[in-house]
Amino acid sequence: MSVLLDVSGLERRFAGARGMGDMIARRPRPVVHALSGVSLQVQDGETLGIVGESGCGKSTLARCMVRLIEPDAGRIVFDGQDVLALDGPARRGFNRAVQMVFQDPYASLNPRKTVHATLAEALRVHRIVPEAGIAARVLELLDLVQLPASAAGRHPHEFSGGQRQRIGIARALSVQPRLIIADEPVSALDVSVQAQIVNLFMDLQRRLGLTLVFITHDLRLVRHMAHRVAVMYLGRVVETGPVAEIFAAPRHPYTQALLRAVPQMTPRELRGEPAVSGELPSPLAPPPGCAFHPRCPVAEARCARELPALERRGGGWPVACLRAGG
């Protein structure tokens, strides 16, 4: 397998809100460290799951990867091209090759446009098919996401949540992308409908050879549909590798805690100490050293000083923990 998307050292900071008191005291605007050096690779044809809790930077990362947000530093290489240096026709080519599916399809679809108009627009802008072929291609796309042909003439509000997400997927597919980045695409859906969309993604991948980056907070979904996983904590990837191996034997203490905290379907009564104590530190002031050390059950003194690099450390996949492998 070859690497389709290679992200290295990605950084992105946002200016935080400044209160009245801060302004009077002339304190500088706080800075949110959303991404603090993210590196990961997406292999051609695979599904990479990106998991993490709120504030870990997974959505910022998704937006950087499609260049909806420009990173402050780092490199993104797609199919051998330096993405951040692209402009003109090359940039448009990249925009076509990498598409995004959002969590809330209702917010990302134009409510005044029919499904046909939404899909036809993308086909026209990118000149995917000649004008005469647009209607037929729209029907093909609807069929691909298992919506009836009659859906073309209707507006987004006439559909249920699951159907709207199908429209969002059809729009992403309309420009024949190689890579789809899906940011929490099923989080707003009920379990029964969620399963329909998950199956659709897996089916599309098989039929079209799509590469998929699936961003979610739900580890059960990652285990179900991803080949490899990247676990994020406070703006960094702390562990990445094959799903089956990491779920069986996680190496980073945060991954271990996360997996212990996921509700299992085997009935048992939760007793004793929680999987991990404490809460996510503020991204306004990330702890020095390993960002997980204040909550880590096995942290040592050096963990508060040294920033662990994401390395193999004697195991089969990279992990950013000073204690791993030693």
Partner: protein, 324 residues
């Protein structure tokens, strides 16, 4: 039996007609029991909880019986209800930021509950408030009492709301999706906290959730709802292992991570989704509400509503149980 709900019905009058949100619900919560009320959006689980606590708006018509320690809550006047709601029955909501008063310090909000439901004097109330914060795992209680909800993180707000609910030593805690807005490691902390408090205080817990995993981890008994009706109830382990209702079975099959071989990544078995979508509640089905999406339905299912049959420790309302 501590709480006994019989044939509970809630109808909302809206501009576009009557919505039958709860359509004949029976459920029991015994002393010290943890019962999960599970269902998807629109199943009526939260409305059931709010109807029990009599917290619904005026456009809701509630009928049926809610018996609490022998008294009918639905027949009570508001004055008689007040010592029960927030006193004997505590409530925790999904969104602590919406349920807490944003312009009052947390200490004052705990104090309000203590004033309403106990005879403690000012000094004793402060001691009790500190004790409550300690009980729910909020450190530096003396400082925290003076802080406002926006100064708390999501998990800490939920702890504060639990402290308020516990102030009057309730015998029953109603919790409406208490961990849905929280991250999974914080959810784990809050669920363990609720179970520990249940043990320490000997209270019963009715937990509304959409997450079958949360039910599996916390509830000895589960009640499954669909379209305002109870599909089945029973001990969680039994219901999950051998569902008696076609909807419960379908829901379990649609869940990722329930298969025999979890942990195999994208090579895992495909999920079995439930076809179609949730039913409309403005015109309840004369038969079983799940019929249009059911794979084992027969003609009878569309016309005759299956009764809730109680058998040993379990109950189910499905004509097709023999075909599951």
């Amino acid at each position: 039996m501590t709480l006994q709900v019989r044939d509970l019905r809630v109808v909302f009058q809206t501009k576009s007609g009557a919505i039958h949100a709860v359509d004949g619900v029976d459920l029991d919560v015994g002393a010290g029991e943890v019962v999960g009320l599970v269902g998807e959006s629109g199943s009526g689980k939260s409305v059931t909880l709010r109807a029990i606590a009599r917290l619904l708006h005026a456009n809701a018509t509630v009928s049926g019986g809610v018996s609490w320690r022998g008294a009918d809550l639905l027949a009570m006047d508001e004055a008689a209800m007040r010592p029960i709601r927030g006193g004997q029955i505590g409530i925790v909501f999904q969104e602590p930021m919406a349920a807490l008063n944003p312009v009052l310090p947390i200490g004052l909000q705990i104090d309000e509950s203590l004033v309403a439901h106990t005879d403690l004097d000012r000094a004793a109330r402060r001691r009790r408030a500190l004790e409550l914060l300690d009980q729910v795992g909020i450190a530096a209680g003396a400082t925290r009492l003076g802080q406002y909800p926006h100064e708390f993180s999501g998990g800490m707000r939920q702890r504060a709301m639990i402290a308020i609910a516990l102030a009057a030593n309730p015998a029953l805690l109603l919790a409406d999706e208490p961990t849905t807005a929280l991250d999974v490691t914080i959810q784990d902390q809050i669920l363990r906290l609720l179970l520990r408090l249940k043990d320490e205080l000997g209270m019963a817990l009715l937990l509304v959730t959409h997450d079958l995993g949360v039910v599996a981890q916390t509830c000895e008994k589960v009640v499954v709802m669909y379209a305002g009706r109870v599909c089945e109830w029973g001990p969680t382990a039994d219901v999950f292992a051998r569902p008696n209702h076609a909807y419960t079975q379908a829901l379990l099959r649609a869940m990722p991570g329930t298969g025999a071989m979890p942990g195999t990544g994208a090579t895992a078995e495909t999920l079995i989704p439930i076809p179609g979508m949730a039913p409309r509640l403005d015109a309840p089905s004369p038969g079983c509400a799940f019929t249009p999406r059911c794979t084992v339905s027969e003609p009878l299912c569309a016309t005759a509503r299956p009764p809730l049959v109680v058998e040993h420790a379990r109950a189910f309302a499905c004509h097709g149980r023999g075909r599951l």
